[in-house]
């Protein structure tokens, strides 16, 4: 009997990945202290990993009854999933975030954050380039004053 739930493109593949990950966690948990004692350091992690495996198997069985996504085979489904989840804006912006994090320490907080804010606002079409420049500068001054002087936190 089919249920009403429709699977997202790539959902089955993701569930399989999580199942394999759960088994991997179970192996790691077993390697902590094996089955030496019910109160060993590895006992509770093993229990958690078994629950992870169990819930993923339940989900895989449930997925069999769900309505499949409209695709022509596995490759097509994965292509659809990649386009939907890892869409160009996501990929480019994640790369910008990673670049910001890499530059945080060599460039220091203020310059790297300024370029990040400016680049992000222009990229995500938050405002025009000139306005973005002003917004980024104002935002950064506010952030710096609040965090450095008011909260006295150590900035990267």
């Amino acid at each position: 009997m089919k249920n009403d739930r429709k699977l997202e493109a790539g959902e089955t593949a993701f569930t399989w990945i999580m199942t394999i990950f759960s088994i991997f966690v179970l192996v790691l948990a077993y390697r902590i202290s094996g089955l030496s004692s019910v109160s060993s350091p590895g006992a509770f992690p093993m229990l958690a990993a078994i629950i992870m495996c169990g819930s993923m198997v339940t989900l895989l069985l449930g997925n069999r009854k769900a309505v499949k996504p409209d695709s022509n085979g596995l490759i097509d489904e994965l292509r659809m999933a990649a386009q939907d989840i890892f869409h160009p804006v996501f990929l480019v912006y994640t790369a910008v975030i990673i670049l910001y994090m890499i530059l945080l320490q060599p460039l220091h907080f203020i310059p790297s954050s300024f370029f990040f804010l400016l680049g992000s606002i222009i990229l995500l079409k938050g405002s025009t380039p000139v306005k973005s420049l002003i917004i980024s500068a104002v935002l950064l001054v506010c952030i710096y004053v609040v965090f450095h002087y008011l909260f006295r936190v150590v900035l990267p």
């Binding site: 320490q105 938050g126 006295r152």
Partner: protein, 507 residues
């Protein structure tokens, strides 16, 4: 209780310096709690560093103000941005954010402010009247009871968020696994560390929280760059008496849950709020909207409970020296710095301080009401900001918030990892809240389970027997079983069939 001791209760209201410090603390707390990435725990920790040379009364006034304001402030970002400002605001976002999406943020904030204060006042009243009794009750808890309590907490989230029970359970167990990473506190053995020293310290739950709630939400928002933000109606935030009176019975019930959970050592406003939300979901038959879609009942229950939990959390802290949650743990540190010894002797040696704390808590609640109902427009403007400006701000705040925890850039990468993971999770209908609860409750469950097992010399039948032989544990065991059974799909089907049969009895 002598008259001179009780006079310290009124000192909070009569000393202008204490009044100024409490109002400043509450104001700061509201905005600290509301800014994603800044936690109340962190703010109180920072406050200790520059208040340790102060007089104890003044330091307490500032820290209590920040604590009360911060717990309340966490609800604002939960409502407006779907980013809980504190763990205790996780449940607030379930219905608070849908309300903001409907353009009712002003009303939601107004109602939550008044209800938070109602909860807070109930918490203070219980602290003042029943502190010795509740403390005695909490003192009788054994490791197995903590295990059951944490399990109940985890069980609630699994069913609360998301349509799939299996996905909720997986997320909760995954969170528990994340919580296990690092050095085992009992044997100092590394768990899931891959032999690296960097992972021995474990994964700080605030890092996971910022990543899963802050960054993943920002990445998710990238899909909606072209969607125009809902204009938040914050012109009318003062709720009518009619509205308050309508929700008062529920808030009293959930405040009671909050104060009891808050009084239990190791459990704070986060579990209290989730239990209260679950209580509302189970008991309110005709909510204003379905739960999860902007029900006021779903906002009121956690908000009254987490604020009531503040008063409750002070009970074990002051009378037993055991923290109720992370913030009270830091507060204990602050009291030690001022030469005080939190525990039974504090009530004997310095009872006047107890009454001063009660007075300050009451005062902080009054200021929360005043400050909470003003200045909302500025914060609500965040929601009217274009996504293209809001998303970079969330990222920068998340980076600062993560970095300040341990001044580590590695933590920032972890935070991004959690963010990307949370985004993919969300895309496939998994909820991130159970992961956080798993991370927080996992270590507590692990420790409680192992201590309980060791107390019966690893004898499994004896362990299970201990769950039913002690009256207090038996009540918790029955509650756990009841909750577990009620969440099994077969039970839900059977209940539906039963009700249908009762409504249309066979002829």
């Amino acid at each position: 209780m002598s008259e001179s001791e009780f006079s310290y209760f009124f000192l909070a209201f009569s000393d202008p310096y204490l009044l100024v410090l409490t109002v400043a603390g509450t104001f700061a707390g509201i905005y600290i709690g509301a800014i994603p990435g800044l936690s109340v725990t962190m703010a109180v920790s920072i406050l200790i560093s520059f208040t340790f040379s102060w007089e104890v009364n003044n330091a307490l006034a500032l820290m209590i103000g920040v604590f009360c304001g911060g717990v309340y402030g966490g609800s604002r970002s939960a409502i407006l941005l779907n980013i809980p400002g504190a763990p205790s605001s996780i449940a607030t976002s379930f219905d608070g954010f849908p309300l903001a999406k409907l353009g009712e943020a002003g009303k939601a904030i107004g109602v939550s402010t008044v209800i938070s204060v109602v909860g807070g006042l109930i918490g203070v009243a219980v602290l003042a009247l029943a502190a010795p009794v509740v403390a005695e009750f909490a003192l009788t808890f054994a490791s197995r009871d903590y295990l059951l309590l944490a399990f109940i907490g985890l069980l609630l989230v699994g069913s609360l968020s998301g349509k799939s029970m299996a996905k909720g359970v997986f997320a909760g167990a995954l969170g528990v696994t994340f919580g296990m990473v690092g050095m085992d506190p009992l044997t100092a053995e590394g768990r899931f560390t891959f032999g690296t020293v960097a992972l021995l310290g474990g994964i700080h739950y605030v890092i996971a929280m910022i990543g899963l709630f802050g960054v993943s939400e920002a990445l998710f928002q990238l899909r909606m760059l072209k969607v125009k933000p809902v204009k938040q109606d914050v012109s009318k935030i003062l709720p009518s008496w009619k509205v308050i009176l309508k929700y008062l019975p529920l808030s009293i019930r959930t405040s009671t849950i909050g104060v009891i959970i808050g009084a239990l050592p190791g459990t704070g406003g986060d579990i209290a709020a989730l239990m209260a939300y679950d209580h509302a979901k189970r008991t309110v038959k005709n909510p204003s909207r379905p739960f999860g879609e902007g029900a006021y009942e779903g906002l009121i229950a956690p908000e009254s409970a987490n604020n009531a939990a503040i008063g409750g959390s002070f009970i074990p802290m002051l009378t037993l020296g055991i923290p109720g949650d992370a913030v009270t743990a830091v507060m204990i540190g602050a009291l030690y710095i001022h030469g005080l010894k939190p525990g039974p002797m504090l009530m004997v040696e310095t009872p006047h301080l107890f009454w001063l704390i009660v007075g300050l808590l009451l005062l902080a609640n009054v200021f929360t009401l005043i400050l909470g109902l003003t200045g909302i427009r500025i914060f609500a403007k965040f929601m009217e900001l274009k996504k293209g400006i809001l998303i970079p701000i969330i990222i920068v705040l998340s980076v600062i918030g993560t970095y300040t925890i341990q001044n580590s850039i590695t933590d920032v990468y972890w935070m991004l990892g959690f963010g990307i993971f949370g985004y993919i999770f969300k895309m496939y209908g998994f909820q991130v809240a159970p992961i956080i609860l798993g991370i927080i409750l996992g270590p507590l469950m692990d420790m409680s389970y192992r201590r309980a097992m060791m107390s019966v010399q690893n004898d499994i039948p004896a362990f299970f027997l201990s769950l039913v032989t002690n009256p207090l544990t038996l009540v918790l065991t029955l509650a756990t079983i009841l909750m577990l059974v009620s969440q099994i799909p077969i039970w839900a089907k059977a209940k539906k069939t039963l009700f249908r049969t009762a409504e249309n009895p066979p002829k």
